[in-house]
């Protein structure tokens, strides 16, 4: 453990720390973040309405729109001269949401990353290949500085140039791989194709930046011979380091001394009891440059406060089922691409990459699942090919109650992603 005294703190001490830090953040916002103060006042909230952490349920949520409305630095609580780093979201739907960091924020962030890495079993004897993109994305620089802070030897590969990634992985003897799960899958397939698994020293994968299913993790583990761990974070909330799995892999430990979390019903905004699935809402407790109140992550998950077998006492969240943004509504059924992925990845004869195409035919929505046929041995009979399609179809029907069209396509025709994967094409 990187900070055992904090990571194993009794729950009542965590709560007391959160209480104190939340009130400090609350005052910080009123003192120094005019735009956020305006948002609170517009919602009819005054500074005196909050006396303790339990009052948080009365406060309005902050969402991505607040970032867009106050682009680029409007939500910040410090002037730009106190900001020493900027990062941004991918901004697929317009301008990125910008995150800013003071020197103090950077120091905290390094420890958050170090906790996640240590929980995954990384020590300073490791050599970590960082195959996250370096740039505005928080992943590359975030993991880089946290690993360095631990004394781990960092190999900053960034994403892309797969052949070179494999060469360096082998020649440098990388023991840790840091990337998005989609890129790890892609790299792991290349490793399998080149037959170089035995020449690698990789033992742990730290995957984040997007969600993935246990089935996909299992595939990466098999191809690379590693233990795959997930970690979680959002640029708006600092970046990676918000939570991460320990080696028991029974949920990602949220750094509760820095983040207060709630699970809400995404429709009504009501706070849900422990164990129920809903949208994760996070209030950072120690941010200087960018404190926020009840930030809606759009990520769907579930939490448990039960003490983990690893000894950590902080709340654990399930790997995210998907972002509520990624959720498709097809014929009234809520569909997360990850649910379909879990079916596809355990299907034999096909590759792990897929594309979901949603169309509207007349008044009906249709979902087509495209997968690559990679195994030539099934070409001997149409019966076998039809069986693959039917098996996928019926398993998806079991999970979602939805009949989808399954199309087998040729290998290497579905797009591969170096960063976060985009697996849905909505033509409606």
């Amino acid at each position: 453990m990187w900070q055992p005294e904090i990571e194993t703190m009794p729950r009542e001490s965590i709560r007391a720390l959160q209480e104190e830090r939340f009130l400090r953040t609350w005052n910080h916002i009123w003192d120094r973040a005019p735009a956020q103060r305006g948002l609170l006042q517009a919602a009819g909230i005054g500074r005196g309405d909050v006396k303790s952490l339990s009052d948080i349920v009365k406060l309005p949520f902050t969402d991505k729109k607040a970032f867009a409305d106050n682009y680029p630095f409007g939500l910040f609580a410090v002037p730009q001269e106190e900001v020493i780093r900027l990062h941004g979201t991918s901004g697929t739907t317009g301008k990125p949401a910008m995150g800013g960091y003071t020197a103090g924020d950077m120091a905290v962030w390094k420890d958050l990353i170090a906790r996640v890495c240590a929980a995954a079993g990384v020590t300073k004897r490791d050599l970590a290949q960082v195959s996250f993109g370096y740039g505005l994305f928080t992943g590359g620089f975030g993991l880089h500085q946290g690993l360095e802070h631990m004394g781990v030897c960092v190999l900053p590969m960034s994403a892309g140039q797969t052949e070179k990634q494999l060469m360096m992985m082998r020649d440098m003897g990388a023991t840790v791989l840091v990337s998005t799960p989609s890129y790890a899958l892609y790299l792991s397939e290349a490793v399998r194709e080149h037959g170089i698994k035995d020449q690698l020293k990789l033992r742990v994968g730290l995957f984040g930046g997007e969600g993935h299913t246990p089935e996909m993790a299992a595939q990466i583990e098999e191809n690379l011979g590693i233990t795959a761990t997930s970690n979680y974070g959002l640029c708006e909330l600092t970046g990676p380091g918000v939570s991460g799995e320990c080696l028991f892999r029974e949920g990602m430990h949220i750094a509760e001394d820095h983040f207060y979390t709630e699970i809400i019903d995404p429709e009504t905004g009501a706070v849900l009891p422990e164990g129920e699935t809903g949208e994760l809402v996070v209030t950072p407790l120690t941010r200087e440059a960018l404190p926020l109140i009840r930030y809606r992550t759009k990520d769907i998950t579930r939490v448990t406060y039960e003490r983990c077998r690893c000894g950590r006492t902080h709340v654990r969240m399930d790997p995210t089922l998907g972002r509520s943004d990624d959720m498709l509504i097809i014929r009234g059924v809520n569909v997360f691409p990850s649910q379909i992925e879990s079916v596809l990845i355990r299907q034999e004869h096909i590759g792990p990459h897929y594309l979901l195409v949603v169309r509207r035919e007349g008044v009906t929505d249709t979902l087509e699942v495209q997968v690559e046929l990679i195994d030539g041995s099934v070409l001997e009979s149409f019966g076998m090919l039809e069986k693959i399609k039917h098996t996928i179809q019926s398993r998806i029907k079991d999970i979602l109650g939805l009949t989808v069209k399954v199309t087998l396509v040729a290998p290497q025709t579905i797009e591969r992603f170096m960063g976060k994967a985009r697996r849905v094409k909505d033509e409606r």
């Binding site: 046929l373 030539g376 001997e380 149409f382 087998l408 040729a410 290998p411 290497q412 025709t413």
Partner: protein, 141 residues
């Protein structure tokens, strides 16, 4: 005595078949017999070529899904009813698919038959007086 056949997965979209044939043309692969079967979204191209291993390697190098299988070849007179007599002989043996081709070299016709058990099918065919052909025969045609 069996013939090695190459099967190739072909997506049902414009240019997909050309792509496969281009690889074969570039590799100077001489197609002795081909057959294409298709469904609404994909097809399977089957072919007999003189060097199946090289062909398979060429296709795989291009990331095309392909495989090699053993099939039975049978020579029969090019006349009405000949194919019927072959199939009649095979009654009780399930035939996955079948395709025929002619050559310039002789008057006879040839069929490629895909069955689960080549040995047994050939035994039955031979017993009924049919001529079984092997790889060498096809390549020299």
């Amino acid at each position: 005595m069996v013939i090695e056949q190459i099967s190739v997965f072909v997506e049902n979209k414009q240019g997909a078949l050309s792509e496969v044939l281009e690889v074969l043309a570039e590799g100077k692969i001489d197609l002795r017999a081909i057959s294409i079967a298709d469904t609404s979204d994909f097809g399977i191209l089957r072919m007999i070529v003189p060097d199946p291993d090289k062909t398979l390697a060429l296709l795989k190098a291009k990331g095309i899904t392909a495989s090699k299988t053993e099939v039975t070849g049978c020579k029969l007179p090019d006349e009405p009813g000949a194919l019927y007599r072959v199939l009649k002989t095979l009654e009780g043996i399930s035939v996955e698919y079948i395709y025929a081709f002619l050559t310039r070299r002789d008057e006879d016709a040839y069929v490629i038959i895909r069955v689960e058990d080549n040995e047994r099918a050939q035994e039955v065919l031979r017993a009924a007086g049919h001529t079984i052909i092997g790889s060498e025969d096809v390549y020299s045609l």
